[in-house]
């Protein structure tokens, strides 16, 4: 029992120690119609070679007037006009919920619609930003940023280079205003989702878990209350194989519990 208590103590300490560590981990971002599903390079990744293009995959084809930009650490645009790229089947469908008129509607997306943003040159090392703004089929605005670091060769602009100067269509809103430009502003969806608007919680969500817990509990109690097989013997009475070859015990409790051993036969 001393050992048991020691172990319980250790486990409880471990649990107590791990709790605060887990609590400060950032929440994963929420997703919506037509959102970014994949990017190459990945968000937060490091690129060591000058890439010809940045490729983004969305769960819906971006609108024709969608806006993309690749910015250097100094804020200079190095992208050229974007073009639709290849689509690919997402390896695992993206599942998500949308709150429509107070009800949660599930949606599954399984195609990644690719777009290519050509990059003209890589003038400096550091954190590059890819901005995107488009409109989803449900007129929801889709915009955001992917940042990654660049640590490869640097070069000047190619001959005849002209940086794009276009801004997002007015219909796309002004997603990259002074505040958004800092890259710290969470998207509206994330903010609303994490503000405890109720992601469909309430007493109803406890019904199914309660049924499962009760069912499992009943299962265990029913097994615990029935007499031990091969029983009749008082608890702590004759126990099989307390001495002798332990492998024999492991092999199916032969000996005084022949009845139960028989029941445990192969199916």
């Amino acid at each position: 029992m001393v050992a048991l208590r020691r172990w319980l103590g250790r486990i409880l300490t471990l649990a107590a120690l791990s709790a605060p560590v887990l609590a400060v981990l950032p929440a994963p971002p929420a997703a919506a119609h037509g959102q970014l599903a994949l990017s190459a390079p990945a968000k937060g990744g490091t690129v060591k070679e000058p890439l010809e293009k940045v490729r983004l995959y969305f769960t819906e084809a971006p609108a024709p007037n969608a806006y993309f930009a690749v910015l250097t650490p100094g804020g200079v645009r190095v992208d050229q006009a974007w073009m639709p790229g290849e689509s690919r089947r997402l390896d695992e469908p993206v599942r998500e919920f949308n709150l429509v008129d107070g009800a949660w509607v599930p949606t599954v997306y399984d195609t990644g619609f690719g777009i290519d943003v050509p990059v003209g040159y890589w003038p400096e090392k550091g954190t590059y930003t890819v901005r995107y703004a488009t409109v989803a089929s449900d007129n929801d605005k889709v915009n955001g940023e992917v940042t990654f670091s660049y640590a490869g060769r640097t070069s000047g602009p190619p001959a005849g280079w002209q940086a794009l100067r276009n801004e997002p269509d007015t219909i796309l809103g002004a997603p990259f205003g002074p505040k958004a430009a800092t890259g710290a502003a969470p998207s509206a969806a994330t903010a609303a989702a994490s503000s405890g608007d109720g992601s469909g919680s309430g007493w109803k969500i406890w019904i199914l878990p309660a049924v499962l817990v009760l069912g499992t509990g009943a299962m265990i109690v029913l097994a615990a209350r029935r007499p031990a097989p091969g029983g009749g013997g008082r608890p702590g009475g004759k126990r099989p194989g307390r001495s002798g070859d332990p492998r024999l015990r492991a092999a199916g409790r032969t000996g005084s519990k022949g009845a139960s051993a028989g029941r445990r036969g192969h199916r």
Binding site: A15, E96, A103, I220
Partner: protein, 438 residues
């Protein structure tokens, strides 16, 4: 108003993750203490003679000759229909093949087996093909060219299961037809060749999907008594009835470890890491999958080895003995992980099955009709996920406890179980953490 939301993410938990983790650990500790005080004799295994039988008419139907053939033919028909899209359909996301294979079949087998037992054994079209072939050549289907060596145990199924989870989680372009066709062709050839050499017994031990359905099916509330009568049984009995055999540990650990890897591989850190690396993604995927399975196996072997020492059993015997305790854990994790996939992608796949050749005329309607959420909300899904994971571990603790009582002498029983309790705690925390935080 429209608001977007990932399914069952951490932000959807109605309680903080730390609280869920603490609750899970407390549930395990409480069950451990309660079991130690109230459950002092080994009680599990087999269907007791006193078990309530199912209604006679139903039992007669099940043991009748028409029953097995009904389901065998059902299996053949379903497989043939699946092959229409697989072989002749376009390689297009609207093709139902990938959804049928990965969602309806692989994930759908979990609830089917939980309710009805090892269903794939009866439905398996390859088994039926082998049976029909044997009949055609007037051979005994149970006898192959040579007997199945006993040392083989569950190893072929463990290897096959690894092959499948690798396809499902790592293989490049795994949702496309050429990849699925190639994998299934290799699998069918291997299964039929094995059956020719070893007889139909091969499917019991060598078929990954029969093994998968069989393991989970042991948790079903119906089972056969020793005399073959269909009875209601306690799922714990069904699970405890699973006897050790070579490769069993690896088989159950592959099942658990692969779902854990699936959570890990979806995490932003892992995606960034793989994309940054100069090695191809499938290489890292393979390494990651093997590493997670290896870690789960190492934790299991270490805990059971320690249990062995403290419980005073001969070295090594406990490892396989405790393997059944991992099955409810894996089942809980599978449900938590793939429940929404089955619910949502499953619905859409069923609609797509109306038009496997993607001709545009689907009697079941268009594929863009909205999915039915069946009253689920992000919070209810997250809550259910936590519940099934914790319940899986509680069941694992009960099974391990019962096994420990049978294996260890009394003085070693409590001490011998403490490493197993530690193991369950580690698995629960890792599982919840990976699902909600990674």
């Amino acid at each position: 108003m429209l608001l977007a939301h990932g399914v069952g993410g951490r932000q959807d938990l109605p309680i903080p993750l730390a609280a869920a983790l603490t609750g899970a650990v407390l549930a395990l500790l409480l069950s451990f203490v309660a079991l130690g005080l109230l459950w002092k004799e080994p009680r599990l295994g087999g269907v007791p003679e006193t078990a309530r039988t199912l209604p006679r008419r139903l039992g007669g139907l099940v043991s009748g000759p028409g029953w097995a053939w009904t389901w065998r033919i059902t299996g053949l028909v379903m497989a043939a229909y699946f092959c229409v899209g697989l072989l002749f359909g376009p390689d297009d996301p609207a093709n139902p093949t990938a959804g049928t294979f990965y969602v309806l079949f692989w994930v759908g087998l979990v609830p089917l087996s939980l309710l009805f037992g090892p269903v794939w054994r009866t439905l398996n079209p390859l088994r039926t093909v082998h049976l029909l072939g044997s009949r055609a050549f007037r051979r005994d289907e149970e006898k192959g060219l040579r007997p199945l060596p006993p040392w083989l145990g569950h190893w072929p199924a463990a290897v096959g299961l690894f092959g499948f989870v690798w396809l499902e989680l790592v293989a490049p372009e795994r949702a496309t037809l050429p990849v699925i066709r190639t994998w299934l062709a290799v699998y069918c050839l291997a299964m039929l060749a094995g059956a020719v050499v070893f007889g139909s017994q091969w499917f019991d031990r060598g078929d990954a999907f029969e093994a998968y359905s069989g393991l989970i099916g042991r948790l079903s509330p119906v089972g056969l008594r020793r005399d073959g009568v269909l009875c209601w049984r306690n799922p714990l009995d069904g699970m405890a009835e699973l006897r050790p055999a070579p490769g069993l540990t690896v088989l159950v650990v592959v099942l658990l470890g692969s779902t854990m890897y699936d959570s890990l591989s979806g995490s932003a850190d892992w995606v960034v890491f793989v994309q940054e690396s100069s090695w191809p993604a499938p290489v890292w995927g393979t390494i990651g999958l093997l590493t997670v399975i290896g870690l789960v196996l190492a934790a299991f072997t270490a805990a059971t080895g320690l249990a062995d020492t403290w419980g005073a059993v001969m070295k090594g015997s406990a490892v396989v003995e405790f393997a059944p305790a991992v099955v409810p854990i894996a089942a809980g994790y599978l449900i938590a992980h793939y429940f929404t996939l089955l619910l949502f992608e499953g619905q859409r796949t069923i609609v797509r099955l109306g038009d496997p050749l993607v001709t545009g005329t689907n009697p079941l309607g268009g594929t863009d009709r909205p999915l039915n959420g069946l009253g689920t909300t992000p919070a209810s899904i997250a809550m259910l996920q936590v519940t099934v994971i914790v319940l899986g571990h509680v069941l694992g603790t009960v099974l391990a406890h019962d096994r420990a009582l049978a294996l260890f002498p009394r003085r070693g029983a409590v001490l011998g179980q403490t490493p197993l309790l530690g193991l369950m705690t580690a698995y629960t925390s890792a599982g919840l953490f990976l699902l909600f935080a990674a």
